[in-house]
């Protein structure tokens, strides 16, 4: 792909990023950051692309570490965001404060 095509994609992606995010309410800032955090784990692909042609122990070792890092970033990021968002609720029907023991959840 030539440089200009890549730059075009880069700039358009930047604008999409600005647009999609600017209206997010404060309430969701943490999950949003955590989800975008998971998305940049896409760098994992870089490791996949290089490792097939890597020669030598050092390069292979570094790439396995990079792939592991990227995977932690992706898998951990999406899971933790899901856990967080799972908790966001509108209004539980008439609330029963004692029905759900919060202490138990906390230690889970």
């Amino acid at each position: 792909m030539d440089l200009l095509t890549e730059l075009t994609i880069l700039v358009l992606a930047a604008f999409v990023g600005f647009e999609v995010i600017s209206k997010v309410p404060n309430t969701l800032h943490t999950p949003l950051m955590s989800a975008t955090n998971a998305i940049h784990g896409i760098v994992l692909l870089g490791g996949l692309l290089l490792i097939g042609e890597a020669t030598g122990f050092l390069d292979e070792l570094l790439l396995v570490i990079a792939i592991a890092f990227g995977t932690i970033n992706v898998v951990g990021g999406f899971l933790v965001t899901d856990r967080m968002l799972h908790m966001f609720k509108r209004r539980p029907e008439p609330r029963e404060p004692s029905a759900e023991e919060p202490a138990a959840k906390e230690s889970a």
Binding site: T30, A35, I67, A68, F69
Partner: protein, 470 residues
């Protein structure tokens, strides 16, 4: 073999990438609203899975054993970490996940450079420049995030750590990194120079986060997130991979916006946050030690219980102290008890309360507080004059009226929660120590303020049992 060649067709892979981008963007859109947010995250996750599978289809991608090992290690570390982390520890978890992403970028750029050297020399500039950029920013992001993690986890002291000549050292380190990068770009072929770049950037990552105080963490974490995104996009340019460019840039752009919003919420520029030492260097209008010179009114749980139970409107202003004390569940129980008595309880959320953007929202959501009770600063501030009791739990700087009134104060101009305008203010505090920023808070000495000393969770629990006994 027909199917195999069909699957590794670059056009098919590109189409799959396109699907993945659409899912990323759609997922981020769904994240705009609490009701659809969870679905949004899953949609983006599916997009990621498609991007990974598509990449594996390239016929030059090989060594599946090594790939499997890497992914297995990453999963074995990432899944349990994400499952077990407490909601109060979320900021350091995000910092850590961000750091490994940056580390991956730095490693990939190094290997890519080594590969091209072994193939006969420096790559063309349109590949080389992104590699160098990715190396610098990825390395800064990795080390910066680790320091942020250390501070949040309290392995390192949370207060700003200043070295003499800090700014000068930072500029020198950046100059070294960029200087070596330029040397390579103009034709020097040297792995050693590349390593110097990585090391200088690593040192810079350490040095630039160390002097930043705990209260500025939301800005820093969000900035590092943007950095990793940008470096991933650069790696994509180097590797000619659209998925990396788009994924990285989406995060780079959104992270930049979030960073600016956080900095605005503190009335500071991103640069001044990076210059470090919030209140650490010059503290005007307040002493660093306890304020025993001025009288404060302390109160007890039964008094607070009576005030709350007979109020008609109570606003809770939570801060990092609530997170530290793990008091969010007890706070919600107290609110439930009060609402049974017909008291309206809302929560006033300052954009930078806590240690990362939206930290308080997550904690209160964990405690089953419905999100329509969480009011943003602009929404709740006009309501304080009609509020009977403002209950400040472990928040300090974000309620400090000096930000409105005292031009000499380091936080002058920062938008705050106007809790002092409520009829009564009750501040739950561990002791008379100043906040993270080390700035004295005149709120505590106001006539309508009473302080309830002690661990936030125990204090709230004591108030709760007094309310029940009424």
């Amino acid at each position: 073999m027909v199917t195999a060649s069909f699957l590794s067709d670059p056009d098919l892979i590109r189409v799959l990438y396109l699907v993945a981008f659409a899912l990323f963007i759609f997922g981020l859109r769904l994240l705009n609203h609490p009701r659809s947010a969870r679905r949004g995250n899953i949609v983006a996750g599916v997009g990621m899975a498609i991007a990974v599978v598509a990449t594996l289809l390239y016929d030059f991608v090989g060594d599946y054993l090594l790939i499997a090992i890497g992914i297995a290690i990453g999963t074995a570390v990432g899944v349990p970490a994400a499952r077990s982390v407490k909601m109060t520890a979320m900021p350091q978890m995000v910092a850590l996940f961000n750091g490994v992403g940056g580390g991956a970028v730095a490693l990939i750029s190094f290997v890519e450079y080594r590969e091209s050297l072994s193939l006969g020399g420096n790559p063309e500039l349109e590949t080389l420049i992104p590699i160098l950029f990715a190396a610098i920013v990825g390395s800064i992001s990795f080390w910066g995030s680790n320091i942020a993690f250390g501070k949040l986890q309290e392995v390192l002291p949370g207060r700003p750590i200043q070295l003499p000549g800090q700014q000068f050292i930072n500029i020198a380190l950046l100059a070294v990194a960029i200087g070596c990068a330029v040397a390579i770009a103009v034709g020097t072929e040297s792995q050693l120079l590349f390593l110097v770049i990585l090391v200088a950037a690593a040192a810079l990552g350490n040095m630039f986060v160390l002097p930043i105080g705990g209260a500025d963490m939301p800005v820093v974490i969000s900035l590092l997130n943007a950095f990793t995104g940008l470096s991933a996009a650069a790696a994509g340019m180097a590797l000619d991979n659209v998925a990396l460019i788009v994924g990285g840039m989406l995060v780079g752009a959104s992270g930049t916006i979030l960073t600016t919003q956080m900095a605005e919420a503190m009335n500071r520029s991103v640069l001044s946050v990076l210059a470090g030492g919030f209140g650490g260097v010059t503290v005007v209008g307040g002493t660093g030690d306890d304020g025993e010179a001025k009288p404060v009114r302390s109160t007890d749980a039964s008094d607070v219980a009576i005030q709350l139970a007979y109020a008609s409107k109570v606003v809770v202003a939570p801060g990092y102290g609530m997170a530290v004390a793990q008091a969010q569940h007890t706070v919600r129980e107290l609110a439930d008890e009060l609402e049974k008595r017909g008291v309206r309880v809302d929560y006033a959320i300052h954009p930078v309360a806590g240690r990362m953007p939206g930290h308080m929202n997550v904690l209160l959501a964990e405690a089953d507080v419905p999100y329509d009770h969480l009011k943003e600063m602009d929404e709740i501030n006009p309501e304080f004059p009609q509020t009977d009791v403002a209950l400040v739990i472990g928040a300090n700087d974000v309620t400090n009226p000096a930000a409105r009134e005292n031009e000499g104060s380091p936080i002058y101009g920062m938008p705050i929660l106007d809790v002092d305008k409520a009829a009564q203010v009750i501040v739950l505090k561990r002791s008379m120590n100043t906040g993270f920023a080390g700035i004295d808070n005149p709120l505590f000495y106001n006539e309508n303020t009473a302080l309830l000393f002690g661990d936030a969770k125990e204090s709230v629990a004591a108030v709760l049992s007094e309310v029940k006994a009424l």
